[in-house]
Symmetry: C7
Subunit: 72 residues, 7 copies
Protein backbone atom coordinates (compact mmCIF):
# COMPACT_ATOMS: atom_id res chain seq x y z
CA UNK A 1 0.00 0.00 0.00
CA UNK A 2 3.09 2.22 -0.19
CA UNK A 3 3.14 5.17 2.21
CA UNK A 4 -0.25 4.98 3.78
CA UNK A 5 -2.33 8.13 4.01
CA UNK A 6 -2.51 8.16 7.81
CA UNK A 7 1.27 7.64 8.05
CA UNK A 8 1.74 10.77 5.97
CA UNK A 9 -0.51 12.68 8.38
CA UNK A 10 1.57 11.32 11.24
CA UNK A 11 4.75 12.60 9.63
CA UNK A 12 3.10 16.00 9.27
CA UNK A 13 2.33 16.41 12.99
CA UNK A 14 3.51 19.74 14.38
CA UNK A 15 4.09 21.18 10.93
CA UNK A 16 2.02 23.61 8.88
CA UNK A 17 -0.58 22.06 6.58
CA UNK A 18 -3.28 23.21 4.18
CA UNK A 19 -6.66 21.53 4.58
CA UNK A 20 -9.09 21.87 1.72
CA UNK A 21 -12.74 21.28 2.59
CA UNK A 22 -15.74 20.51 0.42
CA UNK A 23 -17.16 23.75 -0.94
CA UNK A 24 -14.69 26.63 -1.07
CA UNK A 25 -13.37 26.62 2.48
CA UNK A 26 -9.70 26.08 3.22
CA UNK A 27 -7.67 26.07 6.44
CA UNK A 28 -4.02 26.63 7.12
CA UNK A 29 -2.57 25.70 10.51
CA UNK A 30 -0.29 23.48 12.56
CA UNK A 31 -1.45 19.86 12.52
CA UNK A 32 -1.73 18.77 16.14
CA UNK A 33 -3.63 15.53 15.77
CA UNK A 34 -5.88 13.32 13.66
CA UNK A 35 -7.78 10.04 13.89
CA UNK A 36 -8.85 7.23 11.53
CA UNK A 37 -11.83 9.21 10.24
CA UNK A 38 -9.41 11.96 9.21
CA UNK A 39 -10.88 14.20 11.88
CA UNK A 40 -8.12 16.79 12.33
CA UNK A 41 -6.82 19.11 15.05
CA UNK A 42 -5.19 22.35 13.92
CA UNK A 43 -3.60 25.05 16.03
CA UNK A 44 -3.00 28.67 14.92
CA UNK A 45 -5.57 28.00 12.24
CA UNK A 46 -6.70 30.50 9.63
CA UNK A 47 -9.71 30.09 7.40
CA UNK A 48 -9.09 31.11 3.81
CA UNK A 49 -11.40 31.76 0.94
CA UNK A 50 -9.87 32.02 -2.54
CA UNK A 51 -6.41 32.45 -1.02
CA UNK A 52 -7.41 35.30 1.37
CA UNK A 53 -7.49 34.90 5.15
CA UNK A 54 -11.12 35.46 6.16
CA UNK A 55 -10.91 34.45 9.81
CA UNK A 56 -8.30 33.55 12.43
CA UNK A 57 -9.61 30.70 14.52
CA UNK A 58 -6.81 29.52 16.77
CA UNK A 59 -7.52 25.91 17.69
CA UNK A 60 -10.03 23.89 15.70
CA UNK A 61 -11.32 20.32 15.42
CA UNK A 62 -12.38 19.58 11.83
CA UNK A 63 -14.75 16.67 11.17
CA UNK A 64 -13.13 14.35 8.67
CA UNK A 65 -16.02 13.92 6.28
CA UNK A 66 -15.61 17.55 5.17
CA UNK A 67 -12.01 17.08 4.08
CA UNK A 68 -11.05 16.94 0.41
CA UNK A 69 -7.30 16.93 0.92
CA UNK A 70 -4.53 17.69 3.39
CA UNK A 71 -1.30 19.03 2.01
CA UNK A 72 1.73 18.95 4.35
CA UNK B 1 -1.82 10.49 16.27
CA UNK B 2 -0.84 13.54 18.32
CA UNK B 3 -3.65 15.21 20.25
CA UNK B 4 -6.63 13.29 19.11
CA UNK B 5 -9.73 15.20 18.01
CA UNK B 6 -12.00 13.74 20.69
CA UNK B 7 -9.42 14.51 23.39
CA UNK B 8 -9.51 18.14 22.33
CA UNK B 9 -13.30 18.11 22.66
CA UNK B 10 -12.88 16.59 26.11
CA UNK B 11 -10.53 19.39 27.13
CA UNK B 12 -13.12 21.89 25.94
CA UNK B 13 -15.95 20.58 28.16
CA UNK B 14 -17.64 23.36 30.13
CA UNK B 15 -16.04 26.08 28.05
CA UNK B 16 -17.46 28.22 25.25
CA UNK B 17 -17.07 26.84 21.73
CA UNK B 18 -18.04 27.81 18.20
CA UNK B 19 -19.62 25.04 16.13
CA UNK B 20 -19.75 25.57 12.40
CA UNK B 21 -22.31 23.47 10.53
CA UNK B 22 -22.66 22.59 6.87
CA UNK B 23 -24.43 25.40 5.06
CA UNK B 24 -24.20 28.77 6.77
CA UNK B 25 -25.36 27.90 10.29
CA UNK B 26 -23.12 28.41 13.30
CA UNK B 27 -23.62 27.92 17.02
CA UNK B 28 -21.91 29.40 20.03
CA UNK B 29 -22.43 27.83 23.46
CA UNK B 30 -20.98 25.94 26.39
CA UNK B 31 -19.89 22.44 25.40
CA UNK B 32 -21.58 20.05 27.82
CA UNK B 33 -20.95 16.75 26.12
CA UNK B 34 -20.11 14.85 22.93
CA UNK B 35 -19.81 11.28 21.66
CA UNK B 36 -17.76 9.37 19.08
CA UNK B 37 -19.97 10.54 16.20
CA UNK B 38 -19.21 14.12 17.22
CA UNK B 39 -22.81 14.56 18.30
CA UNK B 40 -22.57 17.57 20.61
CA UNK B 41 -24.44 19.00 23.58
CA UNK B 42 -24.38 22.77 24.02
CA UNK B 43 -25.90 24.88 26.78
CA UNK B 44 -26.70 28.60 26.54
CA UNK B 45 -26.51 28.13 22.79
CA UNK B 46 -27.03 30.88 20.24
CA UNK B 47 -27.52 30.33 16.55
CA UNK B 48 -25.58 32.76 14.38
CA UNK B 49 -25.79 33.60 10.73
CA UNK B 50 -22.95 35.65 9.24
CA UNK B 51 -21.80 36.63 12.72
CA UNK B 52 -25.22 37.86 13.93
CA UNK B 53 -27.23 36.07 16.63
CA UNK B 54 -30.45 34.93 14.94
CA UNK B 55 -31.88 32.76 17.71
CA UNK B 56 -31.20 31.93 21.35
CA UNK B 57 -31.80 28.22 21.87
CA UNK B 58 -30.65 27.35 25.38
CA UNK B 59 -29.81 23.65 25.40
CA UNK B 60 -29.31 21.79 22.14
CA UNK B 61 -28.18 18.37 20.88
CA UNK B 62 -26.45 18.70 17.50
CA UNK B 63 -26.16 15.63 15.27
CA UNK B 64 -22.51 15.11 14.42
CA UNK B 65 -22.83 14.64 10.68
CA UNK B 66 -23.76 18.31 10.32
CA UNK B 67 -20.57 19.54 11.94
CA UNK B 68 -17.78 21.13 9.88
CA UNK B 69 -15.64 22.21 12.79
CA UNK B 70 -15.62 22.91 16.50
CA UNK B 71 -13.41 25.70 17.74
CA UNK B 72 -12.72 25.79 21.51
CA UNK C 1 -17.51 12.82 27.47
CA UNK C 2 -19.57 15.03 29.78
CA UNK C 3 -23.34 14.79 29.38
CA UNK C 4 -23.67 12.52 26.42
CA UNK C 5 -26.03 13.52 23.62
CA UNK C 6 -28.30 10.50 23.97
CA UNK C 7 -28.54 11.03 27.74
CA UNK C 8 -29.83 14.53 27.08
CA UNK C 9 -32.48 13.08 24.75
CA UNK C 10 -33.38 10.62 27.48
CA UNK C 11 -33.85 13.46 29.97
CA UNK C 12 -36.12 15.17 27.45
CA UNK C 13 -38.56 12.25 27.11
CA UNK C 14 -42.18 13.31 27.53
CA UNK C 15 -41.33 16.99 27.24
CA UNK C 16 -41.74 19.40 24.32
CA UNK C 17 -38.79 19.67 21.93
CA UNK C 18 -37.91 21.48 18.74
CA UNK C 19 -36.38 19.33 16.00
CA UNK C 20 -34.60 21.13 13.20
CA UNK C 21 -34.16 19.13 10.00
CA UNK C 22 -31.86 19.61 7.02
CA UNK C 23 -33.39 22.12 4.64
CA UNK C 24 -35.92 24.46 6.21
CA UNK C 25 -38.22 21.99 7.95
CA UNK C 26 -38.74 22.09 11.71
CA UNK C 27 -40.92 20.10 14.09
CA UNK C 28 -42.28 20.84 17.52
CA UNK C 29 -43.76 18.04 19.62
CA UNK C 30 -43.55 15.81 22.66
CA UNK C 31 -40.49 13.52 22.50
CA UNK C 32 -41.78 9.98 23.02
CA UNK C 33 -38.73 7.99 22.05
CA UNK C 34 -35.41 7.82 20.18
CA UNK C 35 -32.70 5.32 19.27
CA UNK C 36 -28.94 5.36 18.68
CA UNK C 37 -29.34 6.66 15.11
CA UNK C 38 -31.22 9.64 16.56
CA UNK C 39 -34.40 8.38 14.93
CA UNK C 40 -37.07 10.20 16.94
CA UNK C 41 -40.70 9.68 17.91
CA UNK C 42 -42.81 12.80 18.47
CA UNK C 43 -46.42 13.06 19.57
CA UNK C 44 -48.68 16.09 19.03
CA UNK C 45 -46.20 17.15 16.37
CA UNK C 46 -46.47 20.29 14.28
CA UNK C 47 -44.40 21.03 11.21
CA UNK C 48 -43.14 24.59 11.04
CA UNK C 49 -41.62 26.60 8.26
CA UNK C 50 -39.95 29.88 9.18
CA UNK C 51 -41.67 29.84 12.57
CA UNK C 52 -45.21 29.27 11.20
CA UNK C 53 -47.16 26.04 11.75
CA UNK C 54 -47.72 24.58 8.27
CA UNK C 55 -49.15 21.20 9.23
CA UNK C 56 -50.35 19.34 12.32
CA UNK C 57 -49.16 15.76 12.11
CA UNK C 58 -49.97 14.08 15.42
CA UNK C 59 -47.55 11.18 15.83
CA UNK C 60 -44.45 10.95 13.68
CA UNK C 61 -41.28 8.86 13.36
CA UNK C 62 -38.40 11.00 12.06
CA UNK C 63 -35.39 9.29 10.49
CA UNK C 64 -32.27 10.41 12.32
CA UNK C 65 -30.11 11.28 9.33
CA UNK C 66 -32.38 14.27 8.60
CA UNK C 67 -31.83 15.82 12.02
CA UNK C 68 -29.64 18.90 12.48
CA UNK C 69 -30.46 19.49 16.11
CA UNK C 70 -32.91 18.72 18.89
CA UNK C 71 -33.58 21.42 21.44
CA UNK C 72 -35.30 20.33 24.65
CA UNK D 1 -35.28 5.27 25.16
CA UNK D 2 -39.04 5.63 25.57
CA UNK D 3 -41.15 4.26 22.71
CA UNK D 4 -38.55 3.31 20.20
CA UNK D 5 -38.99 4.40 16.60
CA UNK D 6 -39.15 0.87 15.17
CA UNK D 7 -41.72 -0.15 17.79
CA UNK D 8 -43.93 2.68 16.59
CA UNK D 9 -43.61 1.39 13.04
CA UNK D 10 -44.52 -2.06 14.29
CA UNK D 11 -47.66 -0.69 15.93
CA UNK D 12 -48.57 0.96 12.64
CA UNK D 13 -48.49 -2.27 10.59
CA UNK D 14 -51.63 -2.75 8.49
CA UNK D 15 -52.76 0.83 9.03
CA UNK D 16 -52.58 3.84 6.71
CA UNK D 17 -49.42 5.96 6.98
CA UNK D 18 -47.94 9.03 5.33
CA UNK D 19 -44.31 8.72 4.27
CA UNK D 20 -42.47 11.92 3.50
CA UNK D 21 -39.35 11.54 1.35
CA UNK D 22 -36.40 13.84 0.76
CA UNK D 23 -37.30 16.37 -1.91
CA UNK D 24 -41.04 16.95 -2.36
CA UNK D 25 -42.27 13.38 -2.77
CA UNK D 26 -44.80 11.89 -0.36
CA UNK D 27 -46.57 8.55 -0.18
CA UNK D 28 -49.77 7.44 1.44
CA UNK D 29 -50.53 3.73 1.85
CA UNK D 30 -50.99 0.75 4.13
CA UNK D 31 -47.77 -0.12 5.96
CA UNK D 32 -47.12 -3.80 5.30
CA UNK D 33 -43.56 -4.12 6.56
CA UNK D 34 -40.26 -2.44 7.43
CA UNK D 35 -36.73 -3.34 8.49
CA UNK D 36 -33.96 -1.82 10.61
CA UNK D 37 -32.85 0.51 7.78
CA UNK D 38 -36.39 1.91 7.72
CA UNK D 39 -36.91 0.34 4.30
CA UNK D 40 -40.69 0.25 4.04
CA UNK D 41 -43.36 -1.80 2.28
CA UNK D 42 -46.61 -0.04 1.39
CA UNK D 43 -49.72 -1.45 -0.24
CA UNK D 44 -52.41 0.59 -2.01
CA UNK D 45 -49.81 3.34 -2.23
CA UNK D 46 -50.39 6.74 -3.80
CA UNK D 47 -47.66 9.22 -4.61
CA UNK D 48 -48.54 12.79 -3.70
CA UNK D 49 -46.98 16.09 -4.61
CA UNK D 50 -48.08 19.14 -2.63
CA UNK D 51 -51.10 17.25 -1.33
CA UNK D 52 -52.33 16.06 -4.76
CA UNK D 53 -52.29 12.40 -5.84
CA UNK D 54 -49.95 12.25 -8.84
CA UNK D 55 -49.71 8.48 -9.28
CA UNK D 56 -51.32 5.33 -7.91
CA UNK D 57 -48.62 2.71 -7.41
CA UNK D 58 -50.18 -0.23 -5.63
CA UNK D 59 -47.39 -2.07 -3.82
CA UNK D 60 -44.03 -0.40 -3.32
CA UNK D 61 -40.74 -1.02 -1.49
CA UNK D 62 -39.20 2.30 -0.40
CA UNK D 63 -35.48 2.44 0.41
CA UNK D 64 -35.05 3.80 3.92
CA UNK D 65 -32.38 6.40 3.23
CA UNK D 66 -34.95 8.47 1.31
CA UNK D 67 -37.32 8.72 4.26
CA UNK D 68 -37.71 11.96 6.22
CA UNK D 69 -40.60 10.83 8.36
CA UNK D 70 -43.40 8.29 8.70
CA UNK D 71 -46.63 9.44 10.25
CA UNK D 72 -49.04 6.73 11.39
CA UNK E 1 -41.74 -6.46 11.06
CA UNK E 2 -44.60 -7.59 8.82
CA UNK E 3 -43.66 -8.42 5.23
CA UNK E 4 -40.06 -7.42 5.11
CA UNK E 5 -38.85 -5.29 2.22
CA UNK E 6 -36.37 -7.85 0.90
CA UNK E 7 -39.02 -10.58 1.02
CA UNK E 8 -41.20 -8.46 -1.21
CA UNK E 9 -38.31 -8.14 -3.67
CA UNK E 10 -37.89 -11.89 -3.53
CA UNK E 11 -41.56 -12.39 -4.39
CA UNK E 12 -41.09 -10.04 -7.34
CA UNK E 13 -38.27 -12.06 -8.94
CA UNK E 14 -38.88 -12.77 -12.64
CA UNK E 15 -41.71 -10.26 -12.83
CA UNK E 16 -41.78 -6.74 -14.26
CA UNK E 17 -40.95 -3.92 -11.83
CA UNK E 18 -40.58 -0.16 -11.90
CA UNK E 19 -37.45 1.19 -10.23
CA UNK E 20 -37.42 4.89 -9.38
CA UNK E 21 -33.98 6.41 -8.87
CA UNK E 22 -32.89 9.63 -7.21
CA UNK E 23 -33.20 12.49 -9.65
CA UNK E 24 -35.65 11.89 -12.49
CA UNK E 25 -34.45 8.54 -13.78
CA UNK E 26 -36.72 5.50 -13.80
CA UNK E 27 -36.30 1.94 -15.02
CA UNK E 28 -38.77 -0.71 -16.05
CA UNK E 29 -37.62 -4.32 -16.44
CA UNK E 30 -37.73 -7.91 -15.23
CA UNK E 31 -36.23 -8.25 -11.75
CA UNK E 32 -33.58 -10.96 -11.95
CA UNK E 33 -31.83 -10.48 -8.63
CA UNK E 34 -31.01 -8.24 -5.68
CA UNK E 35 -28.87 -8.19 -2.56
CA UNK E 36 -29.04 -6.71 0.95
CA UNK E 37 -27.87 -3.27 -0.27
CA UNK E 38 -30.84 -3.25 -2.64
CA UNK E 39 -28.45 -3.52 -5.57
CA UNK E 40 -30.72 -4.80 -8.34
CA UNK E 41 -30.43 -6.83 -11.53
CA UNK E 42 -32.92 -6.09 -14.29
CA UNK E 43 -33.30 -7.75 -17.66
CA UNK E 44 -35.07 -6.25 -20.70
CA UNK E 45 -34.64 -2.91 -18.97
CA UNK E 46 -35.81 0.41 -20.34
CA UNK E 47 -34.81 3.79 -18.97
CA UNK E 48 -37.69 6.24 -18.74
CA UNK E 49 -37.79 9.96 -18.18
CA UNK E 50 -41.17 11.49 -17.36
CA UNK E 51 -42.94 8.36 -18.55
CA UNK E 52 -41.18 8.18 -21.94
CA UNK E 53 -38.70 5.43 -22.86
CA UNK E 54 -35.39 7.20 -23.49
CA UNK E 55 -33.12 4.18 -23.81
CA UNK E 56 -33.36 0.39 -24.05
CA UNK E 57 -30.58 -1.12 -21.98
CA UNK E 58 -31.15 -4.88 -21.87
CA UNK E 59 -29.44 -6.17 -18.74
CA UNK E 60 -28.37 -3.78 -16.01
CA UNK E 61 -26.95 -3.86 -12.47
CA UNK E 62 -28.25 -0.87 -10.48
CA UNK E 63 -26.35 0.21 -7.35
CA UNK E 64 -28.75 0.24 -4.43
CA UNK E 65 -27.94 3.65 -3.01
CA UNK E 66 -29.55 5.28 -6.06
CA UNK E 67 -32.90 3.59 -5.50
CA UNK E 68 -35.90 5.54 -4.17
CA UNK E 69 -38.44 2.79 -4.61
CA UNK E 70 -39.17 -0.49 -6.37
CA UNK E 71 -42.73 -1.17 -7.38
CA UNK E 72 -43.60 -4.77 -8.32
CA UNK F 1 -32.04 -13.52 -4.23
CA UNK F 2 -32.05 -14.68 -7.84
CA UNK F 3 -28.97 -13.74 -9.90
CA UNK F 4 -27.07 -11.59 -7.47
CA UNK F 5 -25.70 -8.29 -8.68
CA UNK F 6 -22.05 -9.16 -8.07
CA UNK F 7 -22.47 -12.48 -9.89
CA UNK F 8 -23.68 -10.55 -12.92
CA UNK F 9 -20.56 -8.38 -12.74
CA UNK F 10 -18.49 -11.54 -12.52
CA UNK F 11 -20.13 -12.91 -15.67
CA UNK F 12 -19.31 -9.63 -17.40
CA UNK F 13 -15.55 -9.81 -16.75
CA UNK F 14 -13.48 -9.26 -19.91
CA UNK F 15 -16.47 -7.99 -21.85
CA UNK F 16 -17.48 -4.45 -22.79
CA UNK F 17 -19.73 -2.63 -20.33
CA UNK F 18 -21.35 0.77 -19.97
CA UNK F 19 -20.95 2.39 -16.55
CA UNK F 20 -23.26 5.28 -15.75
CA UNK F 21 -22.08 7.58 -12.97
CA UNK F 22 -23.94 10.12 -10.87
CA UNK F 23 -24.19 13.39 -12.76
CA UNK F 24 -23.87 13.06 -16.52
CA UNK F 25 -20.66 11.06 -16.81
CA UNK F 26 -20.60 7.67 -18.48
CA UNK F 27 -17.83 5.20 -19.27
CA UNK F 28 -17.52 2.44 -21.80
CA UNK F 29 -14.74 -0.13 -21.46
CA UNK F 30 -13.69 -3.71 -20.81
CA UNK F 31 -14.54 -4.79 -17.26
CA UNK F 32 -11.33 -6.14 -15.74
CA UNK F 33 -12.34 -6.35 -12.09
CA UNK F 34 -14.62 -5.22 -9.28
CA UNK F 35 -15.04 -5.60 -5.54
CA UNK F 36 -17.89 -5.69 -3.01
CA UNK F 37 -18.16 -1.88 -2.96
CA UNK F 38 -18.75 -1.98 -6.72
CA UNK F 39 -15.39 -0.31 -7.25
CA UNK F 40 -14.64 -1.18 -10.87
CA UNK F 41 -11.61 -1.64 -13.09
CA UNK F 42 -12.02 -0.84 -16.78
CA UNK F 43 -9.50 -1.17 -19.59
CA UNK F 44 -9.68 0.65 -22.95
CA UNK F 45 -12.06 3.05 -21.23
CA UNK F 46 -13.71 6.01 -22.90
CA UNK F 47 -15.55 8.76 -21.08
CA UNK F 48 -18.79 9.79 -22.74
CA UNK F 49 -21.04 12.74 -22.28
CA UNK F 50 -24.49 12.60 -23.89
CA UNK F 51 -23.38 9.72 -26.08
CA UNK F 52 -20.21 11.44 -27.39
CA UNK F 53 -16.69 10.26 -26.51
CA UNK F 54 -15.07 13.16 -24.64
CA UNK F 55 -11.88 11.46 -23.45
CA UNK F 56 -10.01 8.20 -23.96
CA UNK F 57 -8.60 7.10 -20.62
CA UNK F 58 -7.14 3.63 -21.09
CA UNK F 59 -7.17 1.95 -17.68
CA UNK F 60 -9.23 3.35 -14.87
CA UNK F 61 -10.31 2.46 -11.31
CA UNK F 62 -13.80 3.85 -10.59
CA UNK F 63 -14.89 4.30 -6.97
CA UNK F 64 -18.12 2.40 -6.45
CA UNK F 65 -20.12 5.10 -4.69
CA UNK F 66 -20.24 7.08 -7.96
CA UNK F 67 -21.90 4.27 -9.90
CA UNK F 68 -25.58 4.44 -10.87
CA UNK F 69 -25.59 1.35 -13.03
CA UNK F 70 -23.42 -1.08 -14.96
CA UNK F 71 -24.82 -2.52 -18.15
CA UNK F 72 -23.04 -5.57 -19.58
CA UNK G 1 -13.45 -10.69 -9.15
CA UNK G 2 -10.81 -10.34 -11.85
CA UNK G 3 -8.13 -7.72 -11.21
CA UNK G 4 -9.34 -6.11 -8.05
CA UNK G 5 -9.43 -2.32 -7.86
CA UNK G 6 -6.96 -2.05 -4.99
CA UNK G 7 -4.53 -4.37 -6.75
CA UNK G 8 -4.55 -2.01 -9.71
CA UNK G 9 -3.72 0.87 -7.38
CA UNK G 10 -0.90 -1.22 -5.94
CA UNK G 11 0.52 -1.80 -9.42
CA UNK G 12 0.38 1.96 -10.00
CA UNK G 13 2.53 2.86 -6.98
CA UNK G 14 5.39 5.21 -7.86
CA UNK G 15 3.93 5.99 -11.26
CA UNK G 16 2.03 9.04 -12.48
CA UNK G 17 -1.76 8.92 -12.13
CA UNK G 18 -4.74 11.16 -12.80
CA UNK G 19 -7.24 11.44 -9.95
CA UNK G 20 -10.65 12.84 -10.80
CA UNK G 21 -12.63 14.20 -7.87
CA UNK G 22 -16.31 14.97 -7.47
CA UNK G 23 -17.04 18.40 -8.87
CA UNK G 24 -14.53 19.63 -11.43
CA UNK G 25 -11.27 19.12 -9.56
CA UNK G 26 -8.56 16.83 -10.90
CA UNK G 27 -5.08 15.95 -9.70
CA UNK G 28 -2.05 14.61 -11.47
CA UNK G 29 0.87 13.23 -9.46
CA UNK G 30 2.98 10.26 -8.43
CA UNK G 31 0.94 7.72 -6.44
CA UNK G 32 2.85 7.09 -3.22
CA UNK G 33 0.21 5.23 -1.22
CA UNK G 34 -3.42 4.37 -0.67
CA UNK G 35 -5.64 2.51 1.78
CA UNK G 36 -8.88 0.52 1.70
CA UNK G 37 -11.02 3.69 1.72
CA UNK G 38 -9.21 4.79 -1.44
CA UNK G 39 -7.56 7.58 0.53
CA UNK G 40 -4.58 8.44 -1.67
CA UNK G 41 -1.10 9.91 -1.26
CA UNK G 42 0.31 11.82 -4.22
CA UNK G 43 3.72 13.45 -4.58
CA UNK G 44 4.60 16.20 -7.08
CA UNK G 45 0.88 16.81 -7.33
CA UNK G 46 -0.75 19.41 -9.54
CA UNK G 47 -4.36 20.47 -9.33
CA UNK G 48 -6.04 20.87 -12.70
CA UNK G 49 -9.26 22.47 -13.74
CA UNK G 50 -10.52 21.77 -17.26
CA UNK G 51 -7.09 20.47 -18.27
CA UNK G 52 -5.15 23.53 -16.99
CA UNK G 53 -2.77 23.40 -14.02
CA UNK G 54 -4.25 25.76 -11.42
CA UNK G 55 -2.00 24.95 -8.47
CA UNK G 56 1.16 22.97 -7.71
CA UNK G 57 0.73 21.28 -4.35
CA UNK G 58 3.68 18.96 -3.86
CA UNK G 59 2.58 16.24 -1.45
CA UNK G 60 -1.09 15.68 -0.74
CA UNK G 61 -3.35 13.24 1.11
CA UNK G 62 -6.73 12.97 -0.66
CA UNK G 63 -9.72 11.63 1.28
CA UNK G 64 -11.16 8.69 -0.61
CA UNK G 65 -14.81 9.68 -0.57
CA UNK G 66 -14.04 12.55 -2.96
CA UNK G 67 -12.60 10.26 -5.63
CA UNK G 68 -14.51 9.51 -8.82
CA UNK G 69 -11.73 7.63 -10.56
CA UNK G 70 -8.00 7.00 -10.62
CA UNK G 71 -6.36 6.47 -13.96
CA UNK G 72 -2.84 4.98 -13.93
Amino acid sequence: MGNRPLDILNDALNTSVIVRLKGTREFRGILQGYDVHMNLVLEEAEELSEGEVVRKIGGVVIRGDNVVYVSP
